[in-house]
């Protein structure tokens, strides 16, 4: 006499999980293809302003980013707005060479299509932004895009 009676298998046959890897792989490839790795570590805080008349930024390979905002490590770098190019803080004078460097890395035929995306914190004062714009004009990087979030109301 056994205390534990063997349960008789009454449930139907188990669902085959053999196709589970296939499904997971399908999802995996989808995310692998769509994923875009963040190209830089943000050292400045940016909360973008909102706007309604936004356009999509096309051809991300031809976009040159400039970040402006308060440093994240404000105890180390203070609270004054700073410009970030690539992975380092910069001054407005560095923008010219930064844009030239970006152009040099691209094909010559694509250079006129390069857009400069300004990712600026909404609390920033216009003084620094104007300085950056003046520098961009000097190197004829005239196509710019003020990065904003989309506001859906109104």
């Amino acid at each position: 006499m056994s205390k534990f009676k063997k349960k008789d298998d009454k449930g139907g046959p188990g669902i085959s999980t053999a196709s589970l890897p296939d499904i997971v792989f399908m999802l995996l490839f989808f995310f692998m293809v769509t994923t875009v790795m963040r190209e830089v570590d943000l050292k400045v805080q940016i909360s973008q302003p909102e706007a309604t008349e936004v356009k999509k930024l096309e051809n991300k390979a031809l976009v040159c980013y400039i970040y402006i905002g308060e440093p994240v490590e404000s105890n180390k770098y203070g609270t004054k707005e700073r410009i970030q190019l690539n992975d380092a803080f910069a001054t407005p004078e560095d923008i010219g060479s930064y844009v030239e460097e970006f152009r040099a890395s691209k094909d010559e035929a694509e250079v006129p299509l390069i857009t400069t995306s300004l990712k600026v914190d909404s609390e920033t004062e216009m003084g620094i932004v104007t300085e950056v714009k003046q520098e961009l004009r000097m190197v004829y990087a005239l196509k710019i895009n003020y990065s904003t979030r989309e506001r859906l109301d109104r």
């Binding site: 999980t17 890897p21 995310f31 706007a51 920033t124 104007t130 300085e131 003046q134 005239l142 710019i144």
Partner: protein
């Protein structure tokens, strides 16, 4: 000699686990956000002192923003909500008023002879203006143009301007732009670039 049977089956049960692991990694690192923003074209730099051609005062819509984020439009204080309507009225000048911009007859494809106004919007901001306010002003001005373009595209083609742009109908888009050319001029900053 040992007899060779069928090779032992490799257990593929953990394959799902590995795939899940990778899947989770890509799920976490992926950023689906598309970059959105207001596209603008900066004017080329002024190399030497070129005399700017005189523009009649009635053709210029002056928008000033001060360091306290207050708007002064054509000499009057204004709230940001009113800017769009004021700009639309200025750009279109429906009643052909004396103090609003002049119009000139122009041949535009699809539309035939149109009265195109010689409007220019001049935007000047202070160094202390917040970026948020600046974007709001730019946005309202762009919205004014877009609304007018939508209206005229609706009348002429039965579809909005946005739909034309999305459909990539370049000839029609160009025609609409010719009727309402977007002219937002930013004043040369005065105390910037001092060395």
């Amino acid at each position: 000699m040992p007899k060779r049977g069928a090779p032992p089956e490799i257990n593929a049960g953990s394959m799902a686990d590995i795939a899940f692991l990778l899947l989770v990694f890509f799920l976490v690192t992926t950023t689906m956000d598309t970059d959105l923003g207001l596209a603008r074209l900066l004017p080329p730099p002024i190399l030497e002192d070129v005399e700017t051609p005189p523009i009649k005062e009635r053709n210029v819509f002056v928008v000033l923003v001060n360091a306290n984020d207050q708007l002064l439009v054509e000499g009057d204080l204004m709230e940001i909500d009113e800017l769009r309507e004021a700009a639309k009225e200025f750009i279109a000048n429906p009643a052909n008023e004396e103090n609003l911009p002049e119009k000139k007859e122009k041949d535009v494809p699809f539309f035939g002879k149109m009265m195109v106004s010689k409007q220019v919007i001049s935007l000047q901001n202070d160094n202390g203006t917040s970026y948020d306010m600046y974007i709001q002003v730019q946005n309202e001005l762009a919205a004014a143009y877009n609304e007018l373009r939508n209206e005229i595209a609706m009348d002429q083609f039965g579809v909005s301007y946005d739909a034309l742009v999305e459909a990539g109908d370049k000839a029609k888009v160009k025609a609409v732009r010719e009727v309402y050319p977007q002219r937002i001029s930013e004043a040369e900053p005065k105390d910037v670039g001092k060395k």
